[in-house]
């Protein structure tokens, strides 16, 4: 084993570790900001892997474009979100999975009295949740129940959303409801368990395929060290159309994004009430306007396939608005 090999292995291992750990952290942490940073770390790891694979240009491009471009975009969006720092969730450590708690260490909770409990109690509560599998399930179901209750309290949601874009530190302060309004605070959808299992299954399947696959047709050729030159000349030569198309696409994307993010149409009236009316919260989403279609079958002999057809009318009335 040569030094280069050892170095290579170490480099690979560390880059891989950083990439995977960053991805994991992004997925599970309670703070959106942290999530973005973890993603940055993952990108870094992948960039390292690129460089290890002699794709220098790509590695640097990775850092420049992903981190310098997209991640900054994401960070800006994160700042618009409620509770980007994850303070709400940090106040409720019992709702987090162990991994989530691990990656959420150091988050400042909203309530100071819970903060102390948070720091010391994280590991303690780690043990109190003996049934982790059940924790997953109950958490999901709990959130489902909250989800249901949450739908009935749209005002709280909207009021909460109203306080949003004033401060990333806004602890969603207009409501002091705390534990009661958890559905808004949840970072994850109700299907987290499913998603976890899906991820595990996907990973297993692909890894299994890779491991069990007969050997790849590996060639031992060495890549040209001047990869940038090669890539550049290919871009200008063979893939000119694609290159230009990509540029065009970027242009369109920029224009579209700017348009989309525009602050909306100007109201006809220049006065403040109209502006406020435009920016007023929309009417709450009413209950589902689709009625159940099936009616109990009326078993009388007067039911005939005549044009009267009460069931048909019922159906049409039910599905008209949709």
């Amino acid at each position: 084993m040569s030094v280069a090999g050892i170095v290579e292995i170490i480099a690979f291992a560390s880059s891989a570790f950083i990439a995977v750990a960053g991805a994991l952290g992004m997925a599970t942490t309670m703070s959106m900001f942290r999530s973005a940073i973890f993603l940055m770390a993952s990108f870094m790891g992948v960039a390292g892997l690129f460089i290890l694979l002699s794709a220098d240009l790509l590695g640097l491009l990775q850092i420049l474009m992903y981190i310098g471009g997209m991640l900054v975009m994401a960070l800006f969006m994160v700042l618009f979100m409620p509770d980007p720092g994850g303070a709400m969730m940090a106040a409720m450590p019992e709702m987090m999975t162990p991994i989530g708690r691990f990656f959420s260490l150091g988050l400042l909770p909203e309530n100071s009295h819970a903060a102390a409990a948070e720091m010391s109690g994280a590991h303690a509560e780690h043990d109190t949740h003996a049934d982790h599998g059940g924790g997953h399930g109950t958490h999901a179901r709990h959130q489902d129940a909250e989800h249901q209750r949450g739908r009935e309290r749209k005002e709280g949601d909207d009021a909460h959303g109203g306080g949003d874009h004033h401060a990333h530190g806004a602890q969603g302060g207009s409501h002091g409801m705390g534990h009661m309004d958890m559905s808004d605070m949840s970072m994850v959808t109700p299907v987290r368990a499913w998603a976890a299992w899906l991820a595990v299954a996907t990973g297993c399947v692909i890894v299994g395929l890779l491991v069990l696959r007969p050997s790849w047709p590996v060639s031992s050729a060495l890549p040209d060290p001047r990869s940038a030159d090669q890539v550049g000349s290919l871009l200008m030569d063979k893939y000119m159309v694609g290159f230009e198309a990509a540029g065009f696409l970027i242009l369109i994307g920029i224009v579209g994004a700017v348009l989309a993010a525009h602050s909306g149409q100007h109201p006809d009236h220049r006065d403040r009430e109209a502006r406020v009316a435009v920016n007023a919260p929309p009417p709450p989403i009413e209950a589902d306007f689709l009625e159940p279609l099936s009616q109990p079958l009326r078993d009388d002999d007067k039911c005939s396939p005549a044009p009267d057809g009460g069931h048909a009318n019922h159906h049409a009335g039910g599905e008209g608005p949709t």
């Binding site: 109700p190 299907v191 998603a195 996907t202 399947v205 079958l297 039911c303 159906h315």
Partner: protein, 619 residues
Amino acid sequence: MSGLLIAVPVLPLLAGPLSLLFGSRLPWRGGELIVAATALSLAALMLLMGEHQVLDGTWFESGGFRLTVGLELDGLTWFAAAVVAGVSFFVGLYSVGYMTDERDRPRFFAELALFIGAMLTLVLASSLVLLFAAWETVSIASYLLIGFRYEEEGARAAATKAFLMTRLGDVGFLLGWLLVLLVLGTTDIRTLLSSVEQARLSPRMLTAIALLMFLAAIGKSAQLPLTAWLPDAMVAPTPVSALIHSATMVAAGVYLLLRLYPLFATAPGALDAVFWVGSATALFSALVATGEMDLKRVLAWSTSSHLGEMMLAIGLGGPLAAALQFATHASFKSALFLSAGMVDKHTGTRDLRRLRGLGHVLPVTTLAFLLGALSLAGFQPFFFTSSDEVIVATALSSGSAAAYLMLGVIFLSGVYIARAGIAVFAGDKPEAGSGPGERNLPMLIGMMALAIAAALGSLVIAAVPQVLPFGTEPETPWAWRLFVILAAIAGLAVGGWHAWRYHAAPAIAWLPGAMERALAAATAFPVQIVFAFARGVARLEHWVDAIARGTATAVWALAMDTDRLERRDFGAGGDRLAQAFASLGERLRRLETGKLYLYTLGLFVWSLVVVVGGLAFGF
């Protein structure tokens, strides 16, 4: 001249509807129209005396058969038409006076006009089809007239009985002329007679036609066994009885035989049948008449008897005698009926047991009755030939047995007519009656005219043979003439003495009554069989109806079941199927949650499943 011939039957037929339309406004309610029309017809006939003409035409022709219609005027038809028109005129005149108290007189006169027109058509017809049509029309008119006073229960029954019994005979006529049509291809009477002369028909065919026609005559002329309707038809108003049921309609049967005489003469056995039926009827009816209690019924049975005499004469090969008897019978019988009508109008009853001594109150009527009675008895007051003598003379030509029979009938006729006359007109003066008496002038004129005609019958007898195509009258030996007169006198004496002594008791004890009842039973029996058959048919129809109803019910039930099957099972089943699909769709709706995370989850899960599945099963 053809116009005159057509006018003879047509004028009365026209007067009928006119009477219906305008009769209620006329003073005599249409009677004057009828009398006038009949007078004109009679005048036309007189103008046509001695002419011979035929108005012939084809009604329609089909498949080799030619139906003709037309009028024929020759000696026999003119003679019969003259008799009919004359008697009709006087009876019409009488009826104008007789019917003054009746309701609905325009209808009566219209029906009477229908009858007269139809009878004249019958007599003058030159084709069997037209004759048959007139025959039936005369039956209808008789039905209408008998049932004129339809509120009386007996009138409706009698009218129906008369119509149905003559209908039985009419079947014979129908079959007869259809047979003629089949054999000859035409219904012309002259063609028939000429082909009979030329012997173009087989004897069996001749006999068949003859007997069928005779069946019609039996029905119409009230011969045995179809006599029963005639006495019951006496519920009709007296003019009707006088005209239809004594002088003309019933004589139509005899007339038919006279018209088709060559056919009968050549058909073997036909004349024998005629003779036997006629003689039996003559004797039977005369016997029954001696015991009848109703004056008009006596005269009805007497009519039947005299028609039997005419049949007898024809059966013995003497159509001339029958024709003479036809004429004289028409006059005296109608005179007798009209006087009976006068009695009825005065006293309100016709029962011999209650009538007595009307000679004091109704002298003219008594005279008319006397003249008629004498003529009936064959006793011509002027010692000229009576028609009975002619019949006897005819009978003698084929043996004396028939002549003795004839003498017996003459005797009996004297008995019953004297009995009736003495019972009604002789005797003490009745208590003060309230009848109208003899003040009705039209009635008197009509009655006396016919009575005088009856009395002058011998003149007719002298004049007629030149007109008729039946040869000359046979000469009666003097002895037999004396026998006839003696028989007549004897009969009158016996009847008169019996009535003087016992008033209205039956002249020959219980026998006539028993005979009449036996005849009634005998004619009732087939009627009962027919009724039973009709009821059986009705029951059969009821069964068929029940079957049909049952079938309909079953089909209906089947239809209802099918409907229920379709509605409940198919219809509702289809609905349930639709429901199942709807609920399935409802359940599948839960896939469409609208939630992004579920969609992404589903996406990734499904692709994983596909990959794994593809790998597991191989590509």
